[in-house]
């Protein structure tokens, strides 16, 4: 089985035409046929083993919440700011604020995201690794606690008991969630799994943590570019004086210069910044420069 777009070729969200009513109808029929056949297959016989499918999916959703909570709690414990939590994907069902953090609840809770920012650069690498490890860690701890409570030999043996099957389903969902997240992978979207995050943390350049630290300030200045490019430029220059290595600030400066009609200067400054980037960040920086160069060379629509 493959996830959609495992090949990283798909156009980004929003670049496709929205589905028509006919498309939505077709999709509904398609989902009802496949999902209906799955359901009939599961309920062909009502046994604890077959119902484990339902328990497994229910626990997987709940564990996604626990997983992201693990990241957020670990971040708070080491003094980092949690700016945003996203639970699931698909249509947004609600945006509550929990403990001062904006939480976005989506329809399908099988993936999640926690946005954090360090309070200071000191110790950022190991703290980052710890935050990455906390998500799968909390799932593994829960699985171990359930297995200990039920008994390790019981949890690993076939059973007709509903209670044992429920416990086994929980452990399976926790092991699968933690196991997949601990595989060191970079996804086609550019995001990394927790395993890759843990491995990369000790080698992450300081500038990356600086960028995370001042992320909200950069975001505000970026939003200002269109309305007040001169003010945004001044904001970026002030940030640059404090954090000269952060590439996003250089991009902001370039965008502000471009908005002021100083296109050549924008390209030159960004090019210089890319050349001075840490070698580990160079490919990403080069890609950023190329994207910027292409965006400024396009005629306005």
């Amino acid at each position: 089985m493959q996830p959609v777009d495992p090949f990283g070729l798909d156009p980004p969200e929003g670049s496709r035409p929205p589905p028509s009513r006919g498309d939505k109808g077709f999709l509904l029929v398609f989902v009802l046929i496949v999902g209906g056949l799955f359901a009939v297959e599961i309920f062909r016989e009502v046994t604890p083993a077959r119902m484990a499918v339902l328990f497994f999916f229910a626990f997987y959703g709940l564990l996604t919440v626990l997983h992201e909570a693990g990241h957020a709690l670990a971040a708070a414990a080491v003094g980092w700011r949690v700016s945003r939590v996203q639970l699931g994907f698909g249509p947004t069902l609600g945006r509550p604020t929990i403990g001062g953090v904006d939480v976005e609840i989506r329809a399908f809770p099988i993936v999640g995201l926690v946005q954090v920012a360090p309070d200071r650069i000191e110790g950022a690498r190991w703290k980052n690794a710890l935050i990455y490890a906390a998500g799968p860690g909390i799932e593994l701890l829960l699985a171990a606690a359930v297995a200990t409570a039920v008994g390790w030999s019981t949890i690993t043996s076939p059973s007709e008991s509903w209670a044992v099957v429920v416990a086994q389903s929980l452990c399976l969902a926790a092991l699968l969630g933690a196991g997949f997240n601990l595989l060191p992978l970079t996804l086609p979207s550019g995001q990394v799994t927790d395993g890759m995050g843990i491995l990369r943390s000790p080698f992450t350049p300081r500038a990356v943590f600086e960028a995370m630290m001042i992320g909200p300030e950069i975001e505000v200045a970026m939003k200002d570019i269109e309305a007040d490019p001169r003010g945004a430029l001044a904001g970026f220059e002030a940030l640059h004086a404090r954090h000269p290595q952060v590439l996003l600030i250089h991009l902001g400066i370039a965008r502000a210069l471009e908005a002021l009609g100083r296109r050549e200067e924008a390209l030159l400054r960004l090019r210089q910044a890319v050349q001075e980037t840490d070698p580990d960040e160079r490919p990403e920086a080069e890609a950023l420069y190329i994207a910027f160069r292409e965006s400024v060379s396009k005629p306005a629509r």
Binding site: G8, L9, I110
Partner: protein, 235 residues
């Protein structure tokens, strides 16, 4: 070969001749991959079929290990196939994926070829797969319909199918013809989705990765059509 690098060259916006060449190359590579897979399956079934089948269906978690191995190798191969750096790496990715898929298909083909008393099972499944694939492909090319809106639904249903397969192996129950039928419909959805992406969205120049995407859908379709044909044979 990331999407970002080619976003102005998506098939639908490329020049007519560039687009035609991209589609021709994609289907040429798909044909090559299917033929290579058929040859590899034949070689594996006739030389190592008993060993591989014995391991796969030998109980315990063996089948799960094979599936997990396939997914991991498949993932790596897909990443290689989509890498824009070297043409050699892209072909290596396609080659490794085809090999992994052939190993995964071997146990089922071995059972169909040697343990069922019906020599028509594999050819029937092959012809049905070609017919369904050809029909769906033709419908996309004739109508020029963009099925990219199916992406999320396919991902969710694919996740559901993976969960069902995993739980059935771990909890020791078998999935029957209804599940196979659902998977045939799902594979059909993947074919519509990937074919319309070839026509409208995939960047020209990404024919190796595009053919791998289509090949994975065709292999999925064949697997479950074969299961269905085998189950009807048993009935």
């Amino acid at each position: 070969m990331s999407y970002a690098a080619f976003q102005d060259r998506a098939a639908a916006y490329a020049a007519e001749n560039e687009r035609a060449e991209f589609i021709r190359l994609t289907y040429l590579h798909l044909g090559g991959a299917v033929l290579a897979c058929a040859a590899l399956c034949y070689a594996l079934v006739t030389t190592a079929g008993e060993t591989i089948t014995g391991f796969a269906f030998g109980g315990g978690m063996n089948w799960l290990i094979m599936l997990g191995g396939f997914m991991l190798v498949g993932w790596i191969a897909e990443r290689w196939a989509q890498s824009g750096g070297s043409q050699g790496k892209q072909y290596l990715g396609l080659g490794v994926y085809v090999l992994a898929q052939s190993i995964l298909l071997t146990p089922l083909l071995y059972v169909a070829a040697y343990l069922l008393d019906d020599p028509a099972v594999i050819p029937t499944a092959g012809v049905l797969t070609l017919t369904v694939f050809g029909g769906l492909t033709a419908s996309v090319f004739i109508t020029k319909k963009d099925f990219s809106f199916m992406g999320r639904a396919l991902m969710l249903l694919g996740f559901g199918a993976m969960g069902l397969i995993l739980v059935s192996i771990v909890f020791g129950f078998s999935l029957g013809a209804l599940f196979s039928a659902a998977m045939v419909v799902l594979a059909g959805g993947y074919i519509l989705y990937y074919t319309s992406n070839v026509l409208h969205h995939y960047p020209v120049g990404a024919h190796v990765a595009a053919s791998l995407a289509l090949f994975s859908a065709v292999a999925l379709l064949f697997w479950y059509i074969l299961q269905l044909v085998m189950s009807f044979g048993r009935d």
